[in-house]
Amino acid sequence: MECDKIIKVTGLTKRFGNFTAVDHITFDVRKGEIFGFLGANGAGKTTAMKILCGLSLPTEGSGTVDGYDIRTQQELIKRNIGYMSQKFSLYPDLKVWENIRLFGGIYGLGFKEIKQRTAEMLQSLGMEDLRNEPVGSLPLGWKQKLAFSIAMVHKPPLVFLDEPTGGVDPETRRMFWEMIYRAVGEGTTVFVTTHYMDEAEYCDRVSIMVDGVIADLDAPDALKDKYGVPDMDSVFRTVAARRPAGKEAAGA
């Protein structure tokens, strides 16, 4: 057992009828790193992520997340990860503290623990005054930061962020990434998907999925060297352009 690998999958495959969404992917994520999971829309990112989060079972292949088997220990996986989705997903009609209370409860925290976490969280977000505001009335940037904190309410060792900064202004995105770095500094592993290539630069390692397979995986700088291009944007386009001819039609 390799202790420094928090996610480890081998030959992971997911088929829906004739369509292979994820095609024998093999990779691992090290403990404490920011792992960027890139790919165009429809490349199979979401499907792969669903398997890793314990939402769906792979057709083939095996793997572990935080030491738990993705086939047999889905419940334990769910309990030990945090998740934040691309769509803003807190309850807009509930107050800030009620949202925290709800997710604290869902993740099995006790009443006292929740109270304490709420205070901590609001303080570090600088949102003490907004405690009793309905979440729906907050600006999007605040909501996203709150959503991230709530995804971490039970202090999971691993957090999945599915396009967390979609539709957010650059300044808020920068602040959001500061929060991510802070979480990593406290030992959390971050698994993040994004379409912003400048964000890909912030990751320790990135994988680029094309048509269900991982086309490349390495540190951003190593990838830039490999393809001889100045930024991740070019790397992404170069890699994505190499899609196998046979799959072109299916992907379109």
Binding site: C53, G54, L55, S56, E75, K78, R79, I81, Y83, S85, Q86, K87, F88, S89, L90, Y91, P92, D93, L94, E98, R101, L102, F103, G104, G105, I106, Y107, G108, G110, F160
Partner: protein, 370 residues
């Protein structure tokens, strides 16, 4: 358990934070009962009867007086020409016309027979039939008296049936619609509200968050259902109180049995709501499906407005798959006839089977669609 409790709390918060929903959910039964009770009445009151004939004729006068004395009938206008009837009907001034033959009394006395013709405005068949029945009844009474007068006091050869409606002597339509409205309201609140609240989570993306949480899908479903189950129980109580003390509909059978069967029906409705939430992806769709696909068939096929017995057999089969129909039948039996469980075993088994089926299918589909 802790997970479950925080989730149920959240559901209640959703409901009570949205004042309009609370208002609709809690006030709708009251409005419906009052509407059905006072506005949409199928009883006939004050039907206007025109008389075509000669009021100076003693037999005619006797019959007219009888009609006038009847509580449901009022005499409209008296005239001599049948050609005028059409005009009166068109203007909506009369509901029925009773035409007496010329020389009515003379013919009756000399020939022993004289003819009366009853002409009803048939544009609304149901009420026309009821009014004509009333008028016929009055004339039959007169006929009976004539029989007795002519054949002496002794029993004559003819028999007149005395009609009595055992469970609803006053023929009040509230006896029919209160159980009907109960079925409708419970079905509507449970299914529509559950469906919309689940689909809302799908739409806003919060469902995803719940699914990756350790909360088991079954518990998500159950905790979604509990608040609406509670609200429905409140509605049930409201309807029962209103029907008992405002509409004066009796509750002759066991309250316990009524509640027990209602709870079964509520669970069936919740399952339907879940099913709707699985097949619809937006709140609008969910509303439309439950509005058009559920309320309408329930109104039409459950026997609230149209009696199932008089439908073509194909539609009767359709009505058999509406859970509300069986529920309403049982409610009528308990409330109006006051019979025990032994008299509704068949209906209950059908409802229970439907509930089990719906619950099985909907939870199954819900899990598969994650």
């Amino acid at each position: 358990m802790r997970e479950f409790r925080s989730f149920v709390t959240k559901e209640f918060r959703h409901i009570f934070r949205d004042r309009r929903t609370v208002l609709i959910v809690l006030i709708m039964p009251v409005v419906q009962i009052v509407l059905f009770g006072f506005a949409i009445s199928t009883e006939i009151n004050n039907a206007r009867v025109d008389i075509v004939g000669d009021l100076s004729d003693p037999s005619v006068r006797r019959i007219v007086t009888r009609i006038d004395n009847n509580g449901y009938l009022n005499i409209g206008k008296v005239y001599k020409n049948t050609a005028d009837i059409d005009g009166r009907f068109r203007k909506g001034k009369a509901d029925v016309a009773v035409c007496f033959e010329n020389e009515f009394d003379d013919k009756l006395n000399s020939l022993g027979t004289a003819s009366i013709r009853i002409i009803g405005d048939g544009s609304d068949p149901n009420s026309a039939q009821m009014i004509v029945n009333y008028v016929t009844g009055v004339i039959n009474d007169e006929q009976g008296d004539i029989d007795v007068a002519w054949s002496g006091t002794g029993p004559s050869g003819s028999s007149t049936p005395a009609v009595k409606y055992m469970y609803n002597p006053g023929m009040l339509s509230s006896y029919n619609f209160v159980p009907g409205v109960m079925g409708l309201i419970l079905m509507l609140i449970c299914s529509m509200m559950t469906a919309v609240s689940i689909v809302k989570e799908k739409e806003t993306g919060t469902m995803e968050l719940l699914l990756v949480s350790p909360l088991k899908p079954v518990w998500i479903i159950v905790s979604k259902m509990i608040p609406y189950f509670t609200l429905s129980a409140v509605n049930l109580a409201t309807i029962l109180l209103l029907s008992r003390f405002v509409m004066h509909v009796p509750l002759r059978g066991s309250l316990l049995l009524l509640v027990f069967i209602s709870l079964t029906f509520i669970v069936a409705s919740l399952a339907i709501g879940l099913l709707i939430s699985v097949i619809s992806s937006t709140q609008k769709t969910a509303l439309l499906i439950s509005g058009m696909g559920l309320t309408m068939p329930t109104m039409i096929f459950s026997g609230i407005i149209f009696p199932c017995e008089s439908m073509p057999s194909i539609l009767q089969y359709v009505s058999d798959i509406i859970p509300a129909k069986w529920y309403i039948i049982m409610m009528k039996k308990i409330m109006i006839e006051g019979v025990g469980f032994g008299y509704m075993v068949k209906e209950y088994i059908i409802l229970l089977a439907m509930t089990a089926f719906l619950l099985f299918v909907s939870t199954r589909l819900f899990k598969n669609r994650l």
